[in-house]
């Protein structure tokens, strides 16, 4: 069985090492080399590889953010000089974690694991990937959303509110709407609780956008945002809002 792989690293020399070591494995075919996370997401979407060698420290999109965006479709082996991410890497079900500089034997070991996992057709648990981009215990500072092979990076302070939409959440940012495969609970957990509040079963609001809350009908309320948007506020949501303000 041939193994189609992509190498992602912002350093040319680092990509060269991986490519060279892979040359010793005839069943492995390198279908693309990417110098950043955007290229990586695009390449994964278009080329549908079996395996990605992924650096973690990269400009704009970190390796974990790339994994969050494409991890459901492909197996990932992290390649990095930093050993402090190892735990997180396995939590998000990376196949392996190679520390730079690595030996050819170590790379062969990682490949063997990847083959095993591919042969067993182990489904990749998407839920675990969602929190991938979030450093331990710290709230997100940006949200990444994939739209086909395009990637949107939304700094959280440009996020107006999050709306539930079936199996997705819809991120409203500066008049645009972006769909992300995530549950409301996951989105709520990832955002900074000091700035984002779940005002309703279906809405998480950036409190910077709130102008006022008005009564609406019998014992229900509505939040008015700066751009005039009106969002329903539930009873518990109103209590949470009051607690925060």
């Amino acid at each position: 069985m041939s193994l189609r792989t992509i190498i992602v690293d912002d350093e040319q020399l680092a990509r060269t090492v991986v490519r060279e070591c892979l040359a010793a494995h005839p069943d492995v075919e390198v279908v693309a080399e990417c110098a950043n996370g955007f290229e990586a997401v695009k390449a994964v979407a278009e080329l549908k590889p079996d395996l990605v060698f992924l650096d973690i420290q990269m400009p704009k999109l970190s390796g974990f953010e790339v994994l969050e965006l494409v991890g459901g479709e492909v197996n990932v082996i992290f390649v990095t000089a930093y050993d402090e991410y190892a735990l997180r890497a396995f939590e998000v079900h990376a196949v392996d974690y190679l520390l730079k500089p690595f030996s050819e034997e170590r790379l062969a070991e990682a490949l063997a694991r990847a083959r095993e996992r591919l042969a067993a057709r182990t489904p990749i648990p998407v839920g675990a990937l969602v929190a991938a981009a979030r450093p331990e215990g710290r709230p997100l500072h940006r949200v990444v959303v994939r739209d086909g092979s395009r990637v949107h990076v939304v700094p959280v302070d440009r996020l107006d509110y999050v709306e539930a939409q079936d199996d997705y959440v819809c991120l409203h940012t500066e008049g645009k709407r972006l769909l992300k495969e995530q549950t409301m609970a996951e989105a709520e957990a990832a955002l900074d609780p000091a700035r984002f509040v779940r005002i309703h079963r279906s809405y998480i609001l950036n409190i910077d956008r709130l102008v006022r809350v008005e009564p609406f009908g019998k014992d229900s309320r509505v939040a008015i945002l700066r751009d005039g948007t009106r969002l329903p506020v539930s009873k518990t949501g109103y209590a949470r809002l009051n607690e925060l303000l």
Binding site: T16, V17, P59, K60, P101
Partner: protein, 351 residues
Amino acid sequence: MQPILARGSRTLFYVAACVAVGALLSAALAGRGGLGALRTGVVVVPLAVLYGFVCLSSWYVCTATPLKTTAASVAFGNIGGSTVVAAALWLALGRAFGWAGARVPGLAGADRLFTQEPALLFSAGALMYLFSLAAHYVLMGVDEARAAEQRALESQLAAREAELKTLRAQIEPHFLFNSLNSISALTTTDPVGARRMCSLLGDFLRATLRLGARERIPLAEELAMVQQFFDIERVRFGARLCYEQTAEPGLDRLLVPPLLLQPLAENAVNHGIAQMLDGGTVRLDASRAGDGLRIVVENPFDGDSPRSARRGVGLENVRRRLATEFGGRATLDVNDTDGRFRVTITLPSAT
């Protein structure tokens, strides 16, 4: 150490005080036994000095009875008991001196100096002892306070040393791992480059070890080390990283703490260039500022990144190191207004 005998000046002062007390006593006792003040003094002053030395033993009582920790009843017993003993000794010594004095021609009648009003004489002896005891307590307190001050100073000094040690810049280990990875790549594609990289890395590490252990190094050596660091990082980042270094002439021999700029150089690469898709140029400029030195390190940064991502712990360490080494005479300013992250250091210069 006996606090009074510990220093010549104190001993001298103590003896002088004894002589003075002896003179006073002589004046008081004059007329007894038919002796004038001067002749009384011939007997009483040596007696007072001798008794003064006897009173030095109150030091033992003082050390055995530290006022802070001893119960009042015990302290009272110790001090009272020793006072009674000392005063009794005073009386006995007085009589002995009087008796001996009476044998000396011209001092006949001296034996009567200490035979009348023993209660009054006893009280005088007790008072002298108590004065001596009080003096011991005071001096011991003074000595202890001085020693405590000294200890505090020493521990402060030790703390500063320790702080400087921890703040002393160390090479970021990931820099080494990434450099090794670059060498690993070059070994097959560009063996000559691999060898060059090994020697660059070797030179740089040797310089950091050699110079890092010194208190101060010439600016020229510090700048050379930063240049070496960027030479190595350029192998890793390729065309994404450019480095420009300028220095006003005549600054080479000014002294700076070693590796002061290293964390700034690392920050410029890791938080600046490495976060940008197309990289950019890091600039370092050294110039004279008044009678001191100004060093500016600036790099472009990714405007979409959060502010916190632009500065590492390295920056805070440099700030603390400057404060520890130079107090308020050095400054560190950070500015990121026009798309470039700029750190400006000023420090007093010395050659």
